[in-house]
Amino acid sequence: MSDAETPPDFDPVAPNTGEEFEPVDVFPDSDDFDLRPGADSCYKCSTCDTNCPVAEVDDDFPGPKFQGPEQWRLKQSDDDHEIDDSVMDCSNCMRCDNACPSGVPLSQMHNTARGEYVSEQMDKLSVEYIRNRILANYRTSAFFASKVPRLANFAMNFGPARWVMEKTLGVTSERDFPAFAKQTFRDWWADRGGQVQSRENARAARKRRGLPEDAEKKVAYFHGCYSNYNTPEVGKAMVRVYEEFGYEVVAPEQKCSGTPMFANGMLDDARRHAETNVSSMSELVDEGYHAIASCTSCSMALRQEYPELFSIPGTAKVAANASPASTNSAQK
């Protein structure tokens, strides 16, 4: 019988859902994220694959459609299904999220699969794991390097040292390490007078612009590690631009956004940092601040990855009140 014909003993308008009816619990309650239902939204149009910058150059990478929905479907029938190691080649650019016409949470699937692969399948004594752990915890190395920026800049681009790094950790010597700034953004911010100074600057700018002087214009700036340790000029410019338009800026306590940790599957590390960030940002949101980030991946972490990966109180509130510093959503 074809599906198109009405079956004789089945009324589709009022299906048999009497007292005997017990819905089958396909996906039992669990605290872990279970992405298998989302996998079924994929109708395999491959739009995600055509957006993947890795699949178009890397012949070992099967693309986001495999990494996401196909792999999660395989887990649907087999909980012990092992994650394919190619997930480590995903660069976590999240372009596939923007592509999918069916709203499949691709990057969430990739992040979760990568986390599982690293925690359950990766050899913790392997060179790859150690290297990734060091690179993922960039903030820690940057913190020490920023204490002695000249020495760090010399050492990180010192030929023999790079040769050793390439041989032992597989970090290519072809790329220059980004230079550490002589003064971090936060040091500059503190020297300049911090929030008190910013409030005065904003007030003066509002007066100059003919805006009400007591207007509630205030942003909490997530500068991220790179602006702090490597390119403080970005952070300084961000502060000045917002102040120029009459916004008071605060630079709350913050750790790494977690982006390099997601990309390396170090979800426990990322969660620790996220807890600090969400806690300080959500308090400020309660006080009427809007969260901004000059780094686009930090902004994605606050807005998308935290809610998708962690259940930390306040995450949804921060996500709904954060935007990349370049958009005007803060103009409320």
């Binding site: 993947c52 012949d59 999220d97």
Partner: protein
Amino acid sequence: MAIESEVLVIGGGLGGLTSALAAAREGADVRLVSYKQSTLRQASGLVDVLGYTSDGDGPLTDPYEAIPSLPEDHPYRKVGVQTVRDALSLFDDAVPTYEGEHTDTNALLPTHGGSIKPTARYPAGASAGLASDTRDTLLVGIEEMVDFDAPHVAAHLDATGVPFDARGETIRFPGDLRADAKVTRYAKLLDTNSEVAVRGRMVPAREALAQRVNPLLEDEQRVGFPAILGDDNPGAIRDALRDHLGVDVFEVPMGPPSLPGLRLEDALFSALGEAGASIETGNPVVDFDGEDRIEKVFIEKNGAKIPNSADQYVLATGGFVGKGVESDRDGVYEPIFDCHVPHAEDRYDWFEGELFGDHEFARYGVATDDDLRPLDASEHSEFENLRAAGSVLGGYDFAAEKSGSGVSIATGYAAGQRAAQEAR
């Protein structure tokens, strides 16, 4: 504070892009918002106007001639023949890499299934492949690309009675790509002309591909490949292959994911950017404010609802596949504004028993007045400042008629232009 514009277009496919482009060229301040990437990336990239009548007569030689005899509720009848022509002119101007504007007559293009499709415009890369051209043809398939079985396609073309001999050969693509390499992988390799290993020697990809085809070429005067010849530089790749092979080279449009569709999308987005429209993609329109008139719509972004307000709105969210029209057991509906979608009450009347039967659902979509304003169940306009364009419209079966692109372009053009004029 709402994000403001004169015209707000919802949807980033062919209908939405044309609509925004028409409005922007009319001088309006236009904003286009699109949720995710559109079905344009799944389309063949051929731009048809009308290949068959609603009764299935065809293939039609002159699509414009057939338009006045279409049923009254067909979108072409709402906008009229002249608007279809004007809309195609806008398209020709915005996408100069397309051909076919020299004539009203439909061109006949071979498809990757080996059938012939009547179409009004086609990418320059497909032009050496016209089925009305009498030159004998070699079709080259790639072993790993099962969507294009060249000997099979050639046999099918023969069976349609084309005025030339077609032959198919299958090669391994040089460079040992993975078996399920993406179309973008082939395209990237040819775009950059990167070197690939061929029997231990490094050879630029374009040359290596020509070397695989050269010994297979007999006395054919043209060679057709599946549409994988580059994303950024397709013209340069075809030229290089032509120089190596000594004959014309063309692409056969493929199914999804489709490079010609991607290229068309890129061309239209860049034309729209140049026309000065603002574009936001990635977030859905989830709600609106207004009774007889839409005051503002809300775009959901990480849990926040961002208001966007405009004087005029265009609904170009697509059909069932694009999710601009949805259905469940209770009925068929338009999800953003809940515009009325006429449909049979009993859902077993929505379709026929035969797979390729004359299904009613294929014509489901919003009904409009002659100004493209969606109508409610009692045939009054739903909102005075909302027009609909593209596959969200009902009254036509684009798959059977081969009219999908043409209806999107014509209604997009009309809706965008009228919205801009009214917003002044």
